[in-house]
C-alpha cells in the first residue's frame, strides 16, 4: 500500500504531468487535488507542481493562493504535513506566506530553460534526507520569475536558521555567484534555489527535480528529493508526528 501524495491541479498547471510521473517512479500513489476542492482527500503529503496557475497574468501564484484548495493546504501545513512546491508551486507558497521571500523576474528579464546544478545545504530534512553525500544535482529550470529575493536581514535569518535548502552551484560544487555567474540562471540572491519554513515541513524550489527522475531524460538526480519527500510523508502517516527535521533524521 503505497503512500498517497496529493498533486494540486490549478487551471494552468502543466508540470503536474511531470509530478505524477516522478511520484510513481518514487513508488507513491499520486492523487489529483482540484483547485476548487476544499478537502485534501486524506493524502499524506502535498506537491504543488509547476505551470502557470490561472495564467499568472498578474504575478505568478498571486491568484492561486486564494483558491479553496490552498486554504486546505495551509491547514495541512500548519498541522505539520509535508508540502513541496516546485517552480510555480514555490511561487504559490511564497505568495501564500507558507514560505519566506519572493520570486522576482529573472535577471535579463528572459524566460530561462536550461539544465542547472544545485546542491542541498543540508541532508537532514524531510526533503533531502535520502540524498546522501553532498554533490551537485543536475536538473532543468524553466521559468520567467525565479530570482529568489528577500531583504538582507531576512536572508541572514534564513541562513542562521538553516532554512536555505538548495543553492545553485558550479560544476565543482562551489556556490554560484550572483549577477554575472551563468551557474545562477536567474540572479537569485545568494544563489538560493530553494528554501523551507522554520518548522521544516514546507519547502519550495525553482528547479525541477520531478523532471529529472529517469536517466533516459538526461538526469535522475532529482529522484532523491522526491523520494525523501515521499518517505517523510509515509513516516508522518505512520507515526502521526509532524514532518520536521527531527523526524527526517529519524527516518534515516
Amino acid at each position: 500500500m503505497s503512500v498517497r501524495i496529493g498533486v494540486v491541479l490549478f487551471p494552468g498547471s502543466n508540470r503536474d504531468i511531470d509530478a505524477v510521473n516522478a511520484l510513481e517512479v518514487a513508488g507513491a500513489e499520486p492523487v489529483t487535488l482540484w483547485h476548487e476542492d476544499a478537502s485534501l482527500d486524506g493524502v499524506a503529503g502535498v506537491l504543488l507542481p509547476g505551470g502557470f496557475a490561472y495564467g499568472d497574468y498578474l504575478r505568478a501564484g498571486v491568484i492561486a493562493r486564494f483558491s479553496p484548495v490552498m486554504r486546505a493546504v495551509s491547514a495541512f501545513a500548519d498541522d505539520g504535513g509535508p508540502v513541496l512546491g516546485i517552480c510555480n508551486g514555490f511561487q504559490v507558497l511564497t505568495e501564500a506566506h507558507l514560505l519566506p521571500g519572493a520570486l522576482l523576474r529573472n535577471r535579463g528579464l528572459r524566460f530561462v530553460s536550461r539544465e542547472v546544478e544545485i546542491a542541498a545545504e543540508r541532508t537532514d530534512t524531510p526533503f533531502t534526507h535520502l540524498l546522501g553525500a553532498r554533490r551537485p544535482l543536475r536538473m532543468p529550470v524553466a521559468h520567467g520569475e525565479g530570482a529568489y529575493f528577500a531583504d538582507d536581514a531576512e536572508l541572514d535569518a534564513l541562513e542562521a536558521n538553516g532554512q536555505v535548502l538548495f543553492r545553485y552551484v558550479r560544476s565543482d560544487g562551489t556556490a554560484a555567484g550572483g549577477e554575472e555567474d551563468r551557474a545562477n540562471p536567474n540572479g537569485s540572491l545568494r544563489a538560493i534555489a530553494g528554501v523551507m519554513n522554520a518548522a521544516g515541513n514546507v519547502a519550495g524550489l525553482m528547479p525541477h527535480p520531478e523532471t529529472a527522475v529517469e536517466a533516459v531524460l538526461g538526469s535522475d538526480d532529482g529522484l532523491g528529493i522526491i523520494a525523501s519527500f515521499v518517505a517523510s510523508a509515509a513516516e508522518r502517516e505512520r507515526s502521526g508526528s509532524p514532518a520536521t527535521v527531527r523526524s527526517a533524521v529519524g527516518a534515516r
Binding site: 487551471p11 494552468g12 498547471s13 502543466n14 508540470r15 504531468i17 511531470d18 510521473n21 516522478a22 509547476g50 505551470g51 502557470f52 490561472y54 495564467g55 499568472d56 497574468y57 535577471r107 535579463g108 528572459r110 524566460f111 530561462v112 530553460s113 536550461r114 532543468p140 524553466a142 520567467g144 560544476s171 554575472e180 555567474d181 551563468r182 525541477h208 520531478e210 523532471t211 527522475v213 529517469e214 533516459v216 531524460l217 538526461g218
Partner: protein, 788 residues
C-alpha cells in the same frame, strides 16, 4: 487576385463611390461570377459575400495550389496512415494501439505585422489542429526565417517572434524541442514563422472534424467571439505583404495560452468521454470555416443561430461574428442526449459553452437571426470542397541567380581557402556565422522539458521524445534549403526532404511521414508559380524515392514585400519512430580512440553553400547534385548500423560541409571529456569543395575500432563508399585544449600549410576552445544580444 489594401473592418453594407464590396473583400470579378454560379445564379448578399471571401481566400481554399498538391504521395493504411491530407493533422499508427498526429503550419504574415502575437497564435493554431484529432500535444518545433540579423527591424522581429513562440508554448505546457533559425536577405520584408506540432493519441480516441447526424447540436466552446482577427485569412495570408503595414494590425489575432491549456484539457476530456460526434477548432475563417468544413465532410448542413454565439463585445455585425478569428475556440457536434454532460465538462474547466445551431440534412450552411429570419444560405460544399480552383501559369525565370548572402561582398572574391589561406580560420568563421552558430540564446527561452519526456531537446540535431510506458520514442526534425531553392526550386525541395529525413535516420529512427509548409511568392506571377510547382515536384519525387507519405501541411503564398519575393522555402517536417530509445545514436563523439569514418562522397559545386555565402563566391558552378536512390541507401545504412549497435556517433554533412560536421561532432561531445579528432582528408578537386562543400547524402560516423570492419562491410552492402578519416583524440596531457586536426592530402591539396612550415601539403588545425567560443557566441553577436 486583387491585392487587399485595407483590413475588412468596415461593415460590408458601407458602400460609396469606392471599389465594389467584393473587390474590397479580395474577391475578383471572375470569382464573383463563380460564386453566383454556385448560388443558382443569384447575387450573394453582403454576409454571404464575406463568408465566400474568407473561404475562397488562398489560405482557406488552396485555390492556386490544390491541383499541385494532388500529385503528392498520400500514403495508405499500409504506411500506417490513419488520417491524411484534408484532416486537421496527419495521423500515423505506431503500434501498442497508439498513433502520432503531426502537422506544420505557417503564420508568416501575422508575425510580420505583430511578431509576438503573430507567432503566439501560430503556436496556438497548430496545437488546436493536434488536439482536435484527440491527441495530446507532446512537442513543438519552430522553423523561423528572417532577413539580415544586423538590421534593426530584423532584431525587433526575432525578439518578438521568439517571445511569442516561447511565451505561448511555455504557458500551455508543451515543450519546444527543436526547429530552425535561418537568416537570408530574401526574408527581409517577409519573415517566415512555421510551427510544427506533434501529438500522441490512442487510436480509439481518433476524432474527425465532421458533423454527422441531422438533428445533432452544434456547440461552440472556449473563448467568446470578438472583433479580433477579422479577415485574417483573406487580408493577411492571401495578399502580398506591404512592409510596415500598420493598418492590418486589427487583422492579427490575440492569443491566450492559458485559455488554450483549458481548451486542451476540456477537449481531451470530451473526446475520452465519448461525448462528441465531431470536433473542429476555429482558425482561419472562424465560424464560417468550421461550420462549412465539418458539414461538407459529413455531407450534411448546418443551421446557425447568430444570436446564440457568445460575444466579447456588443454591436458586432453579423459578418464580423461569422468570420471573426478570435482564438481558443472549438466547435463540437453533440448528440442532444449528451449536451448536459458536455456543458458540465466545459463549465468545470471554466470555459464558456453554448449551443449555436443544429446539424441539418440540406447541405447548406444557413445563418438565421433571433427571429428565425435567414441572413445567409450557402451550400457548404461551395465554401470548401467545391471552392474555386485557379489554373495558374508557370514559367521559369529567364536567368536564375542565388540571393547574395548576408554580409557578402558585392563582387565575388576568391574562394577560400586558396594557397596561403588557413582553412582553420574559415571553419571558425563558419561556426561563428549567424546561420551555423549555436542556437542556445534562442532555445533557452523555450521550455523544452515540460511533460518529462524530452530525451534530446534543441541544439543537437533531431529532437527525441520518449513515449511513456513503452520502450519507444518519437524523433522529429524540420528542414528547408532555401539557398539552393533560390537556384533550383526542384533541388531545394528534394534536398529539404533528404536532409530532414536524414536527420531523423541518423538517430536510428525510421521516418514515418512528412508534413510540409510550402512558403512561396505570389502565384499570379508565373515565375513564383513555377517555383511552387517545381518545389511540389521535388517534394513528391523525394518522398516517393524514400517511401514516405505526405500526411498534410499548409501552403503560404504571397510571401513578397517591396524588397522582393522570398527564396522558395519548402519547410519539411518529419516524424520518425525509434523502437527502443536505448539504441539511439547521438551526433557527438563518445570516446578517444574511436575511429571516424566518412560515408558517401563529395561532388563538386559550392553554390548555395554557407561557404559560398561567407566567401561571397560567384555561384555559376551551380549547387551539388542529389541522387535520391543513394540518399535512400545512406539512410538505410545508418539505421541498420544503429540497430546493430555499431555506431558511437552519427552526424550528417550539411550546412558548412564536412569540416563543420566534424567540428560539431567534437563540440557536441560531452564537454568535460574535451574530445578532439586527428583526421586525414583526401582532396580530389579543391580543399573548399572537400572541406566546406555541401553535397548531400554523406555521413560522419564514429565507432570503436572493433566495429569498423562490420561498418565497412555494411556500407559496401548498401553500395556506399566509406573511408576512414582518423580517430577521436583526447585532450593533450600538457593541459592544452583538445584540437581538431584535418590533414589534407591528394591531388587537390594546395600546399598552403607547407608555406606555413607544416610537414603536410595542407592542414586545418584549430583548438576546440577557439571553435566553441566562435560557435557559442556567434548568434548573440549577430543579433547584438547580451547573453549569460
Amino acid at each position: 487576385m486583387t491585392m487587399v489594401e485595407e483590413p475588412v473592418t468596415a461593415a460590408p453594407s458601407a458602400t460609396g463611390t469606392e471599389e465594389p464590396l467584393h473587390r474590397r473583400l479580395g474577391v475578383t470579378d471572375d470569382e464573383l461570377d463563380a460564386i453566383r454560379a454556385r448560388l443558382g445564379g443569384r447575387d450573394p448578399n453582403d454576409l454571404e459575400l464575406a463568408m465566400f471571401s474568407v473561404m475562397w481566400s488562398e489560405h482557406c481554399s488552396y485555390k492556386s495550389s490544390r491541383p499541385l498538391l494532388r500529385t503528392l504521395p498520400m500514403g495508405s493504411a499500409a504506411d500506417g496512415v490513419v488520417a491524411g491530407p484534408g484532416e486537421n493533422a496527419g495521423v500515423i499508427a505506431i503500434g501498442d494501439g497508439l498513433a502520432v498526429a503531426f502537422k506544420i503550419e505557417s503564420h508568416n504574415h501575422p508575425s510580420a505585422v505583430e511578431p509576438t502575437q503573430g507567432a503566439a497564435t501560430g503556436v496556438g493554431g497548430i496545437l488546436r489542429d493536434i488536439f482536435t484529432m484527440g491527441a495530446r500535444p507532446i512537442a513543438v518545433l519552430d522553423a523561423l526565417r528572417f532577413g539580415d540579423p544586423a538590421d534593426a527591424r530584423t532584431r525587433h522581429l526575432v525578439e518578438g517572434v521568439v517571445k511569442g513562440v516561447g511565451g505561448y508554448g511555455n504557458c500551455v505546457g508543451v515543450p519546444t524541442v527543436g526547429g530552425e533559425l535561418v537568416f537570408d536577405p530574401s526574408y527581409q520584408g517577409n519573415p517566415l514563422v512555421n510551427v510544427m506540432a506533434i501529438g500522441l493519441l490512442e487510436i480509439d480516441d481518433l476524432t474527425l472534424a465532421a458533423a454527422p447526424g441531422a438533428g445533432n447540436l452544434v456547440v461552440l466552446f472556449g473563448s467568446t467571439t470578438g472583433r479580433d482577427g477579422i479577415g485574417g485569412a483573406s487580408v493577411l495570408a492571401s495578399a502580398t505583404f506591404q512592409d510596415q503595414d500598420e493598418s492590418k494590425r486589427p487583422s492579427v489575432q490575440v492569443g491566450d495560452p492559458f485559455a488554450e491549456k483549458l481548451l486542451i484539457e476540456a477537449s481531451l476530456e470530451l473526446i475520452r468521454g465519448g461525448l462528441v460526434a465531431g470536433l473542429q477548432d476555429l482558425g482561419a475563417g472562424g465560424i464560417t470555416c468550421a461550420t462549412s468544413e465539418t458539414a461538407d465532410r459529413a455531407g450534411t448542413g448546418m443551421r446557425i443561430e447568430l444570436g446564440a454565439i457568445p460575444r466579447r463585445e456588443p454591436g458586432m455585425e453579423p459578418f464580423e461574428v461569422m468570420i471573426s478569428e478570435s482564438q481558443e475556440r472549438m466547435l463540437a457536434v453533440v448528440e442532444p442526449a449528451r449536451w448536459d454532460a458536455v456543458r458540465a465538462v466545459c463549465e468545470r474547466w471554466g470555459l464558456p459553452v453554448a449551443v449555436i445551431g443544429t446539424v441539418t440534412d440540406d447541405g447548406d450552411v444557413t445563418v438565421v437571426d433571433d427571429t428565425g429570419v435567414e441572413l445567409a444560405r450557402v451550400p457548404a460544399a461551395a465554401l470548401t470542397s467545391d471552392a474555386i480552383v485557379h489554373q495558374r501559369v508557370a514559367a521559369p525565370p529567364v536567368r536564375r541567380r542565388a540571393a547574395p548572402a548576408p554580409g557578402a561582398p558585392a563582387t565575388a572574391s576568391d574562394g577560400l581557402p586558396e594557397r596561403g589561406m588557413d582553412p582553420g580560420a574559415v571553419l571558425t568563421a563558419l561556426l561563428g556565422s549567424a546561420n551555423l552558430a549555436s542556437r542556445r540564446p534562442v532555445f533557452e527561452q523555450y521550455d523544452s522539458t515540460v511533460q518529462a519526456n524530452t530525451v534530446e531537446g534543441p541544439g543537437h540535431g533531431a529532437a527525441i521524445v520518449r513515449i511513456k510506458g513503452t520502450t519507444k520514442a518519437l524523433v522529429a526534425a524540420t528542414d528547408a534549403n532555401q539557398a539552393v531553392g533560390a537556384l533550383d526550386p526542384w533541388l531545394g525541395a528534394a534536398l529539404s526532404v533528404a536532409e530532414a529525413t536524414r536527420n531523423v535516420s541518423i538517430t536510428g529512427a525510421r521516418p514515418l511521414g512528412v508534413t510540409n509548409c510550402l512558403n512561396y511568392g505570389d502565384p499570379t506571377r508565373p515565375e513564383a508559380f513555377w517555383q511552387l510547382s517545381e518545389g511540389v515536384r521535388g517534394l513528391a519525387e523525394a518522398c516517393r524515392a524514400l517511401g514516405l507519405p505526405v500526411t498534410g501541411g499548409n501552403v503560404s503564398l504571397y510571401n513578397e514585400s517591396p524588397t522582393g519575393a522570398i527564396a522558395p522555402t519548402p519547410e519539411i517536417g518529419v516524424v520518425g519512430l525509434l523502437e527502443d530509445v536505448g539504441t539511439r545514436v547521438g551526433p557527438g563523439f563518445r570516446s578517444a580512440g574511436d575511429r571516424v569514418l566518412l560515408v558517401g562522397s563529395a561532388t563538386p559545386g559550392l553554390a548555395g553553400s554557407a561557404y559560398a555565402a561567407l566567401a561571397g563566391l560567384a555561384v555559376e558552378d551551380g549547387p551539388p547534385s542529389l541522387d535520391l536512390d543513394r540518399e535512400r541507401r545512406v539512410q538505410a545504412f545508418v539505421r541498420e548500423a544503429a540497430a546493430r549497435g555499431l555506431l558511437a556517433s552519427a552526424q550528417d554533412v550539411s550546412g558548412g560541409g564536412l569540416a563543420v560536421a566534424l567540428a560539431e561532432c567534437a563540440l557536441w561531445a560531452d564537454r568535460d571529456r574535451g574530445l578532439g579528432a586527428d583526421l586525414r582528408v583526401a582532396v580530389a578537386s579543391s580543399p573548399a569543395v572537400d572541406l566546406f562543400g555541401e553535397s548531400p547524402s554523406r555521413l560522419v560516423v564514429s565507432a570503436t575500432p572493433r566495429h569498423v570492419p562490420a561498418l565497412v562491410l555494411l556500407a559496401r552492402q548498401h553500395g556506399l563508399p566509406i573511408e576512414e578519416l582518423g580517430e577521436v583524440s583526447a585532450r593533450p596531457d600538457d593541459g592544452t585544449p583538445a584540437r581538431l586536426v584535418i590533414e589534407l592530402h591528394g591531388s587537390g591539396a594546395t600546399g598552403a600549410a607547407e608555406d606555413r612550415g607544416s610537414r603536410v601539403a595542407d592542414a586545418l588545425i584549430v583548438s576546440l576552445d577557439e571553435l566553441r567560443h566562435a560557435w557559442e557566441g556567434g548568434l548573440a553577436r549577430a543579433l547584438g544580444w547580451e547573453m549569460r
